[in-house]
């Protein structure tokens, strides 16, 4: 069965710090890996990664995929209180459905 494991489960840092969130996966016929940010309501899409070694970047957020070692990281630099959220990692495999990890709860203290 496809599986996604995120770490850490919870992280508390100060504003301005840089954080790295981890996502490892086991999936049959890997197709893509996605990162979502969930604040109070809907998960909002951040990145979709399909190829190893190509960094996706959006402002202070960046992500990269390693298909050989079966993991991805999400980096956030110069964190702000608005970055506080649950970050969800999900993979799509041969079953053509999103399988989510348990999420990392990130708290940014002023």
């Amino acid at each position: 069965e496809d599986k996604v494991v995120q770490s850490p489960l919870s992280l508390v840092v100060h504003e301005g710090d840089t954080v790295t969130l981890n996502c490892s996966y086991e999936v049959t016929n890997f197709r893509s890996l996605l990162w979502y940010k969930q604040e109070k309501k809907a998960p909002t899409f951040l990145f979709m990664l399909t190829s190893s070694g190509i960094e996706k970047k959006s402002g202070r957020l960046s992500s990269i995929l390693d298909k050989k070692e079966l993991f991805s990281i999400l980096n956030i630099t110069a964190t702000q209180t608005g970055d506080s959220a649950i970050y969800l990692c999900a993979v799509v495999g041969g079953a053509q459905k999103l399988v989510f990890g348990q999420g990392t709860r990130l708290t940014i203290n002023p």
């Binding site: 197709r31 893509s32 996605l34 979502y36 969930q38 309501k41 809907a42 998960p43 909002t44 899409f45 979709m48 399909t50 649950i86 969800l88 999900a90 799509v92 495999g93 079953a95 053509q96 459905k97 999103l98 399988v99 989510f100 348990q102 999420g103 709860r105």
Partner: protein, 116 residues
């Protein structure tokens, strides 16, 4: 101009009742999904419809019945509600099945279902 909208946002009801949650998307997507998010924030897929055809049906009690009258709507009906059904239910949509066409899924704001 909400892209994926669910109603109601909150639903409080008693055990044994039957209830429905509605979902509509105005993104022109052809695939829609229902997810359940439990108290530990773990999101798990329940159903997926592509062009009104059921393509994913996870191990979900048959008290849960999705209905897709057209590509823009996917409703979820739940019979004989149980305490364990309390959760947040999210609707989502994508163009293609979220895999083959490499398109991400877009989520609604969720419906918080509380069973008394």
């Amino acid at each position: 101009d909400t892209a994926v909208s669910q109603t109601p946002k909150y639903l409080v009801t008693q055990m044994g009742n039957d209830k429905s949650i509605k979902c509509e998307q105005n993104l022109g997507h052809d695939t829609m999904y229902w997810y359940k998010q439990d108290s530990k924030k773990f999101l798990k897929i329940m159903f997926s419809y592509n062009n009104k055809e059921l393509i994913i049906n996870e191990t979900v009690p048959n008290r849960f019945s999705p209905k897709s009258p057209d590509k823009a709507h996917l409703n979820l009906h739940i019979n004989s509600l149980e305490l364990g059904d309390s959760a947040v239910y999210f609707c989502a949509s994508s163009q293609g099945n979220g895999a083959g066409n490499r398109q991400p899924q877009h989520f609604g704001d969720g419906t918080r279902l509380s069973i008394l």
